[in-house]
């Protein structure tokens, strides 16, 4: 079972938040898997449920409630683990890289000490000297110049890119098999973004860790990911390998996302934003959640919720949740341009 099942299996995950206005279904039946050593990008607009999904993997959804579904990591149901077992997985087997390296480091503790603590948290027997050496090694690995001197510095003495490097060093410190990167480049300057992406790739190769890359930046996904999962209104609307999904999208939302993107390699006169805005998750529309904004929408979309199904005939598995995916297939050049 260990060998046949993917590293992480998310099955029909549902997470709800109770608010004064009612129950918000932040994640509403999302399913996808991650294989060992694979980089999976999860894309979607703000509020599509991608971050909540990631936090659910670590069992850290604040004030939210798991309303259904399972998350299995290495064959074990994470929802059934007690606090102590979960803590041995957090940081050691599943590590996270945060969006904002400015706030995710303790401002009054030196960067080196924070890495040392991350190491000693999971290996109490590790001596202080050994942990120190390892931390400096890690800083060097993530491309920190003069790592031994940087070890003794405080976060405020680091630039944004440097801090994100330190965060990545901390995340890979315990050799996790799954890295979750939540918008790892969003808070950074464009010039630094490329460096951090390169670094993520290096870190991934170094640790052989599967990576769950959460972002709203399709460029980042195209750059880094093997597979892509597109989320909309708390549901997975399309998934498949990056090239397939980006060259032949089979969901109108993915098409819309790609069309709204400026491109350097093609001459596009104007961008086409998706009309309307994401639905309120307090009262999601009946049927397909995308139908109010969808150019292909018709009566069936308003009543019947499309399930994720296999499309295309390529070798890579490509799934979409659209009743009329085949119509998109008929006009690929027009919509992807």
């Amino acid at each position: 079972m260990e060998n046949t099942e993917p590293l992480l299996v998310i099955d029909e995950l549902a997470v709800e938040f109770r608010t004064d206005e009612g129950v918000v279904k932040a994640v509403d039946g999302a399913s996808f898997t991650i294989d060992r050593g694979e980089i999976v990008g999860v894309v979607g607009e703000s509020g599509s449920g991608k971050s909540v999904t990631a936090m659910s993997i670590l069992g850290l959804v604040k004030s939210g409630r798991r309303a259904g579904g399972t998350i299995r990591f290495r064959g074990r149901d994470l929802g059934e683990l007690a606090g102590k077992e979960l803590r041995t997985i957090r940081g050691a087997e599943i590590a996270m890289i945060f969006q904002d390296p400015m706030t995710a480091l303790n401002p009054v503790v030196t960067v080196g000490k924070q890495i040392v603590e991350a190491l000693r948290l999971h290996d109490r027997k590790l001596s202080k000297d050994a942990a120190r050496d390892r931390a400096i090694e890690l800083l060097a690995l993530v491309g920190m110049p003069d790592a031994a001197a940087r070890f003794k510095q405080y976060p405020h003495e680091f630039s944004g890119g440097m801090r994100q490097r330190a965060m990545i060093a901390m995340a890979i410190a315990n050799g996790p098999s799954l890295l979750i990167a939540d918008e790892p480049t969003t808070a950074l300057d464009v010039t630094i973004q490329a460096q951090v992406l390169d670094l993520l790739r290096v870190a991934q190769q170094e640790t052989q860790a599967a990576t769950l890359l959460i972002t709203h930046d399709l460029g980042v996904v195209a750059e880094l990911a093997d597979r892509v999962v597109v989320m909309y209104a708390g549901r997975v609307v399309e998934q498949g390998d990056v090239t397939t999904v980006f060259t032949a999208p089979r969901h109108p939302y993915t098409v819309g996302l790609l069309e709204s993107l400026p491109r350097l390699d093609r001459d596009v006169d104007e961008l086409h934003p998706i009309p309307g805005s994401p639905p309120s998750l307090l009262a999601p529309p009946p049927g397909c959640p995308f139908h109010p904004r969808c150019p292909l929408a018709r009566d069936r979309c308003r009543t019947e919720r499309p399930e994720l199904r296999v499309v295309g005939n390529g070798t890579a598995v490509h799934r979409t949740a659209c009743h009329f995916a085949e119509e998109l297939a008929a006009v690929p050049t027009e919509v992807t341009r």
Partner: protein, 316 residues
């Protein structure tokens, strides 16, 4: 170097920034580096009143430690032949109603007062820190129970509680320390809880949790260190309060028992008008000692507060 301006959201960061601005903004790692604690020390040393308080306090502590060397006479030796003698070359501050040397008693009493003050404050701060941090971090019903208990303690007049405790358990130094600690811990608990609530929502705490940290770990590595500066400040103020409480209780006969000397029970003698009017050597020295000690502790406390939080007013 895309960003040299972290947000000014904590005193620590603000303090850290101060140094960046004061020194250099160079990109190369600098050899001279100050930890937040080192910077607090530096700010403290710039505060003249605080340094003065610290020096006076140090003198009083030395007085207490080296009492046998400084006072040549025994603080408890009774000499009924020389009752209530005015100051002389033999008895620098005269003698009391039992013929004991007042100077020796004042010096030895410093030991008792400082012991009670420091131990009671330490106990109160330790307990208050644990209660406050646990209440803040765990929240829920535990928070409610702990903090309502603290509120109840704060709503009783402390002196009454102490008198009742001392009355039931009998007057002695351990009881004195305990009863002072019992009535002062809620202040620390409230403060630490406040800091905990603020730190709890910080992303780095979230990050630590994601890295597999238990609550105990979060308390030890992030929350208590974040509150430490303020804990030291309330601890110092608590020392002053405890010294005053000791004086009050001993004055009332509920604290340190004669023949052992304490500044409070020495003031017992000042209950009569004749003594106040005609024998100032009996009450002036212990009274001045209490005032000097408490004042210098408070100066130090104020200095520490300004040093720990650079945003507080009064900093040059």
């Amino acid at each position: 170097m895309s960003d040299l301006r972290p947000s000014l959201d904590t005193p620590e960061v603000a303090a850290a920034e101060e140094v960046v601005a004061a020194e250099t903004t160079g990109t190369a790692p600098r050899s001279r580096r100050r930890s937040p604690a080192a910077m607090a020390v530096r700010r403290f040393r710039r505060n003249k009143i605080a340094v003065f308080g610290a020096v006076v306090l140090l003198l009083i502590v030395l007085l207490a430690v080296f009492a046998p060397l400084i006072a040549q006479q025994s603080p408890t030796a009774v000499d009924l032949g020389e009752i209530r003698q005015p100051p002389s070359s033999e008895h620098w501050l005269g003698t009391d109603a039992s013929g004991r040397d007042v100077f020796a008693r004042v010096v030895y009493a410093a030991r008792v007062s400082l012991l009670v003050g420091i131990v009671a404050a330490l106990l109160a701060v330790l307990f208050g820190t644990i209660v406050g941090a646990v209440a803040g971090l765990f929240g829920g019903w535990l928070d409610t129970v702990l903090m309502r208990t603290a509120d109840m303690m704060l709503s009783f007049p402390p002196i009454v509680i102490i008198i009742v405790l001392a009355g039931i358990l009998g007057p002695s130094i351990p009881i004195l320390i305990l009863s002072i600690a019992v009535t002062t811990w809620p202040t620390t608990a409230r403060l630490v809880r406040g800091v905990t609530l603020a730190v709890r929502e910080r992303e780095y705490l979230h990050a630590a949790r994601v890295a597999g940290a238990s609550r105990g770990w979060l308390l030890r590595k992030h929350i208590v260190p974040a509150a430490m500066g303020q804990i030291v400040v309330v601890g110092t103020i608590a020392v002053a309060g405890a010294i005053l409480s000791e004086a009050v209780l001993s004055f009332l006969g509920l604290g340190v028992q004669p023949p052992q000397a304490s500044w409070g029970n020495m003031l017992n003698d000042a209950q009569s008008l004749t003594v106040i009017q005609s024998m100032p050597w009996l009450w002036l020295p212990p009274g001045l000692a209490i005032a000097a000690t408490v004042l210098s502790v408070n100066f130090v406390g104020d200095g520490l507060r300004d040093a720990v939080d650079p945003r507080q007013s009064g900093r040059s």
